[in-house]
Symmetry: C2
Subunit: 259 residues, 2 copies
């Protein structure tokens, strides 16, 4: 098993053109995890940019992506002093699979001017629960360690509840919680529709996430909650906190409910 | 003064190509409001789609857009049974000014399966406050009626507080609260940095918004709050509720703090 850094590394093959062998360990039932794909797209965006971090990523998922060969095309849209914007597309079998608008920038380590948010309390990782892997997610579970706050897992016993999940997250290979790890973290939890008693595949249509600070080493705390399921659409909002108690990522996705 | 429908109408000039005269009334100090531009891009996306609504819009703002002639280019990325995805670009003076990934769909009027959110209480519009127009926003104020919850306007008296604003919103010409009006609503309030005692221009870098339901006629309630201002970046999350108490739009933007 290669490390996360290698599993997301893109090889430059031309101006704004990259190649990668997508790692099957990040697939769930044969479809690659959207967070892993965003990590790959962020690596390509940064490789083609003068800035160090993918500060904001807005991804539209067009088609299921499979393990194996894929291309990443980075089209620069604007280069500024503090940010550079690009359209980054993952292409597989000659067709676009994921489009992402990514703005890169360089984050420092200054204290925030304002932080109005506190991490929701969660028991320490050793008191949280590892779930039995979802069907077809064996490789993913070998890569990503998740420990769930037991107060958010009533659905495991067949009880429906509020659409809310809290879990600790880290990569099992010891890869530090960098921008790539955060891209995985914001899309690593099972769909919130499970909490509502609706099992099944819930494809993400759009996911936007923002890198707010470079995380400190250690576990990440991932808080996921939803507001509305209607007309076949539902939202998942995620906040990620680092071991120093700082808000390091925010995301929201809009997904289709299981049919 | 033309109506909002006409001010956002795009003229088809070719396959996926549209033209528009951008309306100076939607400019603030000469720069067109991002919400108005998203309304225009949404109209073009729907015009080029088999579906009725711009369900999700992720916009990156590349350059200031001025009133006057502009082109909108819609590049189809995927057409599916329930959604169609496109890259929609606003072009002015031969350069891209706004890129947006827009997925269209058709929303019905079924009751939500789950809604965990209640609108935050706000006094009725007649007990809320019209602000003195920001400098250079006279035309915008003639278009957009905003009445602020007085409990969120301490900054008017020079007091810094929490980054939170609540306001009623409607278009003054009587245009119904449709997708276009919602695009304006999610970007109509002054920047939250004002609440923190930081006046000045706060350019939006990325704004993603989701249309969750077609609003009922009447006022919209707009709730805007921020989590973090750090490293020169801040977030604004918006929820919009219709007169029937339904959550009709969600957004988050990442912007640069005033310098």
């Amino acid at each position: 098993m290669i490390g996360f850094g290698e599993a997301t590394a893109v090889e430059r093959v031309g101006d704004g053109r990259y190649e990668i062998d997508l790692d099957g360990d990040f697939a769930i039932s044969g479809a690659l995890n959207g967070g892993y794909l965003m990590a790959v797209l962020g690596r390509a965006a940064v490789a083609a940019s003068p800035h160090a971090h993918p500060v904001t990523t807005a991804a539209t998922f067009l088609r299921v992506t499979r393990p194996g060969r894929a291309q990443v095309v980075v089209e620069p849209r604007k280069e500024g002093r503090t940010t550079a914007a690009s359209l980054v597309t993952l292409v597989q079998d000659g067709r676009p699979a994921v489009d992402a608008l990514i703005s890169t920038g360089t984050l420092g380590d200054a204290e925030p001017v304002h932080s109005g948010a506190e991490p929701a309390g969660m028991p320490p990782p050793e008191e949280c629960t590892e779930l039995p892997p979802l069907k077809g997610a064996r490789g993913f579970v070998d890569r990503v360690e998740l420990r769930f706050d037991p107060s958010t897992t009533a659905w495991l016993d067949g009880r429906a509840g509020r659409p809310e999940l809290r879990a600790w997250f880290r990569l099992r290979d010891g890869h530090p919680p960098d921008a790539g790890a955060l891209a995985v973290a914001v899309d690593a939890l099972p769909p919130l529709t499970l909490c509502l008693g609706l099992p099944g595949w819930a494809p993400t249509v759009e996911l936007t996430w923002h890198l707010r600070a470079v995380p400190a080493p250690g576990w990440l705390a991932v808080h996921c909650s939803g507001r509305l399921l209607g007309d076949g659409w539902f939202d998942e909002g995620v906040e990620v906190w680092d071991s120093a108690g700082r808000l390091v990522a925010q995301s929201r996705q809009l997904a289709r409910a299981p049919e």
